[in-house]
Amino acid sequence: MRRNNLLRTIFIVASLLWAGYELYPTLRVSQLKNQLSEKASKLAQAPGLQPEAVTDALGQGTLDGLVQQALAGRSPDSLQKAQQETKALIALYDQVARLEPEALRRGLDLQGGTYLVYEVNLVKMFGDLAKNKDQRFAELMAQVEKAAREPNADFFEVLQSAFDDTGIKLSRYWGSRIENDTKILEDMRKEAEDGVQRNLEILRNRIDQFGVSEPNIAAQGDRRIVVELAGIQSVERAKGIIGKTALLEFKLEKDPEVAQDVFAKINTWMKGTLKNIRPALANGDTTKADTSALRARQDTEVAVDDIFGTSVLVSDSGKAGNDSTVLVDKDVFREDPFYSLLAGSGRDVAVPVKNYRTVDRIINTPEVQEIVRNADAQFLWSKETFKRGDQEYYFLYLAKREPELTGEKISDARTEIGGGSSMTAAGQAVVSMRLNSEGAKIFADVTGKNVNKRMPIVLDNRVASAPNINERIPSGSAYIEGMGDINEANDLSIVLRAGALRAPMEVIEERTVGPSLGQDSITQGTQAALIGLGLVILFMAIYYKLSGLLADLALVVNLVLLMAIMAFFSATLTLPGIAGIILTMGMAVDANVLIFERIREELRTGKTVRAAIDTGYDRAFWTIFDANLTTILTAVVLYQFGTGPIRGFAVTLIAGIAVSMFTAIVMTHVVYDFVSTRRTLKTLSI
């Protein structure tokens, strides 16, 4: 027994030393991080930068440039001072970055950040890939989409049964005619799988370039990708970078004659379907439309119902409510309903923002789609709105269906600040792209053949910019203008470099915690833990006197070891995790309460102190063991079922209970033994 205790003592001391070793980086990092944020906000003060921008730039390694840009034009003195501060800050950041992997990680909920689950939208993916799309196809896919939304529904099974029911072969839309359904389905499955894997790689690449420390990107099941980004300030920018498909296409604008023809056909179609034009408007004092160009628009509001007659369109539910009226030129409306919704200006067709949804619905009707398809054309909206006078407009482009070039042929994309050359406005951020040799050849060819036409650069089906081709461009470089700010340009460069996603994705779950809430949570969590710990310690000391203090010691050691174990296993500390720790403290004393109550009982039966202690421990052991093991069982279930924060809670609970068995049973017993062998105890402070 004695020798055994020596071993136990050595083990206890060793485990405490180990805990100190494991926890040192955590303490040091939190110390350094405080210094870091202090210095960052100090630096941010001087040039009038946002502290968040400074931290973000630090992560992306662009701080130097940011500071220089912000301080442009200031005195050389202040510039030099800021540069020194920047250097110190970067050095500190590197130090933190080196130590951080060894420190106890804080969960998203404690440092701010975001947890995103993306799901590949197979309906959209294969909808895009399909050929010979017709009305029938749209109906079928709508049906498939609805059925696939059920939990546990498999897209491919749903697809097959939908096609089987109608007797249409899959080969009508996918694969080649000689292939049977089974083969096509098999190929589709493979394609979906590939898509997820490729997306995963592209996302890793993008996030890496965005500069997030220790991102967690993983596939979940076969359709989902989980992205965890801790400690980032600009969640929305990150989401923009991750979720953007970033399909870049260079297209050619249709000739004006073709465009005029298409518009006229749409106008005629609309006129034919319009029925219920309000009498008041129809009989108004409108003179016949004056088609000469120099005429101010005479805008008036018209109910959307009037435009669509009664049932031309399926209304898109949910969002229809806020654009019940549109703006039309009342002089033109009656004769030319479609033209009245638009506002031409030079080569551009502009659409007032208020009319955007309505026009979008019109150009997406099957009838209009057919008109457009017959002209081998496609309508495209501008990405941004433009202000002309006091109205905001979207531009509407009519481009050739097939792209001349796609983003796959881009070898590099960088942000540049325009110098005021022919291509770029001075001081404006642009994205400059370099094409690979094959791309450059095609580009030179296309530009050479289409001088004085416009070439819309289309990003995810929106026109990002529509430069005019002034001459043949042999260099293989192109620009996208119209960036809102340098961040937008940087983000676009990143996604263009990393490439387009193979399969379109949607966010199906998001949990974001702002940095301020994270800070509050950690403050409140720590506070609650300390108060809880204090109260339990006080209570035990009062109730069990010296023995209570011994239990308190065990409790503190328990806490330290628990944190060390978490650091060792690179577990993540979450807010529920802190709750778990607090709860473990309540439960850990249970073991000591059981033992002490047993010892008290034994003492009452008249046993000696030594005998009472030994019997107390013996008797209580199995009770504690059974009780704790069952709790661990439920914690294991919790771990299996939970995600993120809940798992953190389960892990702390399991580790805490396991450690408490050691500290509450073994450690306290050794101390009792130590005391009771030195001198014969007549009474026990319990």
Partner: protein, 303 residues
């Protein structure tokens, strides 16, 4: 210091009163759930988006509502929580999924240029995920009960295991009832609390059962009522002490742990009380009734 020396309280005697109280609470809870059409699920289980924003200055809620409606969410729920410049926006599930939070924040920033809100928290769950989480939460709770049934039967006796599991089920139902009666939201963390309650309550039950097992060997010729009463009295001091310490920390969590952990802490407060109570008044009486019937059957067979 000692709260209890030797107590001789006849717990088993009043078991029917206790049982009727439990039944009453659970019945009230079930009625309330039926009326309200199930528990009040949070975004986790229902799908939808909740955004907690913080405005530098107190905003006009009407304007916030207008802005959110302009983003296309006319039926959004908008209210303050905590401080008057903390605004919570809740939107029903949308087809577009989590893009909604960006749309709403963009519009808010445009409409409040001088008072641009900051994101405190976003929780957005697609309808599919909501359903999945709901089923997996139910499975997790059931699965943990089955595991307990197996382990306790293995370590003790089958009837003890049944008593323990019925007691645990009782605890979860009571907590759920309180949540429904007080119109509180059931989300993922609350389910985590349920499972923790299961763990804690079981801990308590095992300690008493362990004592019963031990006393059965030591005290011969006693009726099962007396045996169980004795065991409960012997462990009463420990039961109260442990419940008290856990209660103290749970209350600290409730009052100081912050808003995120509030639901969890509240569930734990109810659960800790229910857990200690159910050992004495649900698990033990069940064992008593079972044993009495068994003894009766045995004596009939002999006669």
């Amino acid at each position: 210091m000692q709260f209890f020396r030797e107590t001789h309280i006849d717990f088993i005697k009043i078991r029917w009163y206790a049982l009727s109280m439990s039944v009453l609470i659970i019945f009230a809870g079930i009625v309330s759930m039926v009326i309200k059409g199930g528990p009040k699920y949070g975004v986790d289980f229902l799908g939808g988006t909740v955004i907690q924003t913080h405005f530098p200055a107190v905003p006009d809620l009407g304007q916030v509502r207008d802005a959110v409606a302009a983003a296309g969410f006319g039926d959004a729920e908008i209210k303050t929580f905590g401080e008057r410049n903390d605004v919570l926006i809740r939107v029903q599930e949308q087809e577009g999924g989590a893009a909604t939070s960006d749309e709403i924040m963009n519009v808010l920033r445009q409409r409040f240029p001088g008072n641009s809100p900051e994101i405190r928290m976003v929780e957005s769950v697609g309808p599919k995920i909501g359903k999945e989480l709901r089923t997996s939460a139910i499975w997790a709770t059931l699965f943990s009960l089955v595991m307990i049934l197996v382990y306790v039967s293995f370590r003790f006796e089958f009837i003890f295991a049944v008593g323990a599991v019925v007691a645990l089920f009782h605890d979860v139902m009571v907590t759920l009832s309180f949540f429904s009666l007080l119109d509180l939201e059931v989300n993922l963390t609350v389910v985590a609390a349920f499972l923790t309650i299961v763990g804690f309550s079981l801990n308590d039950t095992i300690v008493v059962m362990d004592r019963i097992r031990e006393n059965r060997r030591l005290v011969r010729g006693s009726t099962i009522e007396n045996l169980i009463n004795l065991s409960i009295n012997q462990t009463l001091s420990r039961t109260i002490l442990t419940s008290l310490t856990v209660m103290v920390v749970v209350l600290v969590l409730f009052f100081f742990g912050g808003e995120v952990i509030h639901g969890f802490a509240f569930a734990m407060v109810i659960g800790v009380i229910a857990g200690s109570y159910s050992t004495i008044y649900i698990a033990a009486p069940l064992v008593v009734e079972w044993e009495k019937r068994r003894v009766l059957k045995l004596s009939r067979a002999k006669a």
